[in-house]
Amino acid sequence: MPKWILATPAWLWFLVFFAAPVGLIIYYSFGYKPGIFGTVATDKLSFDRYVEAFNPNYTPIFRNTLEISIIGTFLCLVIGVPFAYWLAVKVKPKWRGLLLGLVLVPFWTNFLVRTIGWQIILAPDGFLSGFLQDLKLLGSPLAIDKTRWAVQIGVVYNYLPLMILPLFVAFDRLDSTLREASKDLYASRWATFRQVSLPLAMPGVVAGLLLVFIPLMGDYITASLLGGTKGTMIGVLVADMFNSAQNWALGSATAVILIGFILGTAAFFGLIGWIIQSIVRSRRRINIEGAL
């Protein structure tokens, strides 16, 4: 039996449910919208939809998407790292499974329903608003629903587990003897974390960043439910072009641009990370031959 046969189901899946739809989107993006009720025609192919999609009016939406995604991913990282470290290293093993299960509890409910839940929580007449006003922390009703802040809260909530899980796995794999060795060499707790645990957990950090950043950039549910006009993201724009404008060609071109935008941004940060890592490594390098 040939070895590749093991990968066949995965390849078939990939081909039918990923490669084919994306190929279709790319193909449509060169088409045009025929008449009021047509959605897409491809008898004449051109780059015109890309010209339209690069409409300067849409720049604020691209900027918004990038800002929300970067801040959201960063917040997930800042919240996720200490939590995952605590869970993997500090918590007693018997509680670990339970706590990890609790991290996954939100996934038991549909993404859409969870986001609508935030709509209710953040409403000016909602209980959070009432509670904060009762505590005299707020003088007027909470005014963050339908703003960028609401989207920011929503995306951190929705994507945090995707950050915690790979981080947990990475920290969990760390050999505790390495930390002990670090302590034996008089490294402080912070120095041990910074110089031993975190660098070794780097693959988990990168996986978490990608798992959060990429779907977040394309998210449209959170933005359309919580964002109002100020929290619009590209995903909303693409959905509008398909649903309301019935312009699949333009929607496809915008979607392709979004894909490129995500790849470009991820590559850009990857490059920065690589440069920083190279600098740190070269400066920290200990020349063992010299010591001999």
């Binding site: 919208k33 009021i36 939406i61 409403a123 006009t229 309301s244 404008a245 019935q246």
Partner: protein, 391 residues
């Protein structure tokens, strides 16, 4: 006779109970909402199973109806009654604009699975041309006779070949009088308040024609214009003066936004605004039917091409045109249902906020029906640009 037998053999477990409960309901309702037309209807209903027998002429009723319609457009109680009485369960999906609904029908090419869609009248000719709608057999909708003469046979569907009226209404706005204190009477007042004290707290409908319409209504111009310069001026005004102040484009502020206090000022369809005001439980919200002009729209029951449950769909449409049922729906959705003499019946029944449901002839004279014309693509483009400018 054989027809009747069919009905009974199919609906046997429920039929008898239903007949009784139906009559009991009618009797009860007639007592509370006494009126000549209602008694007449009672007679009509008695006949229905034998002659009208909408289900009987084309086989049994299917067990469900998939309805794609506007948000909060059907009274849950009425839907439940229908299911109890006839069997088919109603499944609902909703849309924000005609464009959205049409795009789904176009995209699925007759396989949408929907049995009912409720387009605004002016969209019907193009939908018919694109073969998105099944012709209606009015013989299967005996209650069509309850529709007032003036709402039948509209220019966009002569002879009601494809549609029967569901409801008609207009577009206005509601505002929170504790936040907006200036006198509010026109669309220009709406824009002025939006750009001032309601800045960042204003919602407009998520429908290209409504947002663009508001500008033309404010300026007392033809809102169906195809004139490029007029549309450009509209785009510039909305992008520069209004978009930055809009908090959200939302077609149903009445469902959540108004009751939750999310806005100070909302462009709204009269029925949705009414639901929001009633649900808010305060008297802070004021409805304005704005001048100098506004819209008149009429939505219509239609059956899309390829509907999997047409018999049940016919039965549902017919059910809704019953004056009793229609009045119940009206009491909740807050739109004129085009049924004859519904206004006196509603007054008699003591339904709240009739000023938001029924309009005087003078008000109606300031309403213009929309049009679907060559500028549609441009209008969608303007709307997208306005939305982008609101970020």
């Amino acid at each position: 006779m054989s027809d009747q037998k069919d009905v009974i053999s199919v609906l046997a477990p429920h039929a008898t109970i239903k007949q009784v409960s139906r009559r009991a309901f009618l009797a009860g309702a007639t007592a509370t909402v006494a009126g000549g037309s209602l008694i007449l209807t009672g007679c009509g209903e008695d006949e229905a199973p034998t002659t009208g027998g909408t289900g009987s002429s084309s086989g049994p009723l299917e067990d469900q109806i998939n309805m794609y319609t506007w948000g909060a457009y059907d009274y849950p109680k009425v839907m439940k009654q229908f299911t109890e009485e006839f069997g088919p369960a109603l499944k609902l999906s909703s849309y924000d604009s005609n464009e959205q609904m049409i795009s789904k029908l176009v995209a699925t090419k007759g396989t949408s699975g929907f049995d009912i869609v409720v387009p605004t009248g002016v969209f019907i000719p193009q939908m018919v041309q694109a073969e998105l709608l099944e012709p209606l057999d009015l013989a299967r909708i005996p209650n069509f006779e309850n529709i007032a003469e003036e709402y039948r046979d509209q220019p966009w569907d002569p002879g009601n070949g494809y549609s029967v009226p569901k409801a008609w209404g207009t577009t206005g706005y509601v505002y929170d009088k504790t936040k907006v204190t200036r006198p509010m009477a026109t669309w220009q007042d709406f824009f002025d308040a939006a750009a001032d004290e309601a800045s960042g707290q204003t919602s407009m409908l998520a429908d290209p024609n409504e947002v663009i319409g508001a500008y033309f209504w404010a300026n007392d111009e033809d809102w169906n214009t195809t004139d490029t310069a007029a549309l450009d001026a509209c785009e510039d005004y909305l992008i520069d003066n209004i978009a930055p102040h809009v908090k959200a484009f939302e077609s149903y502020p009445g469902t959540n936004g108004i009751p939750q206090g999310s806005y100070y000022l909302c462009q709204a369809w009269n029925g949705d605004g009414r639901q929001g005001i009633i649900d808010s439980g305060t008297d802070n919200w004021v409805w304005v039917f704005p001048g100098p002009r506004s819209e008149l729209w009429m939505d219509n029951w239609t059956i899309p091409t390829g509907a999997p449950n047409p018999n049940a769909a016919y039965e549902w449409i017919n059910y809704n045109l019953d004056p009793e049922v229609s009045l119940e729906t009206l009491s909740w959705v807050g739109y004129h249902t085009a049924v004859a003499d519904i206004e006196p019946a509603a007054e008699e029944a003591g339904i709240e906020r009739l000023d938001m449901i029924f309009f005087t002839p003078e008000q109606v004279a300031t309403m213009d029906a929309g049009e679907v014309n060559d500028s549609q693509t441009r209008r969608v483009e303007i709307f997208n640009n306005v939305k982008a400018a609101a970020v």
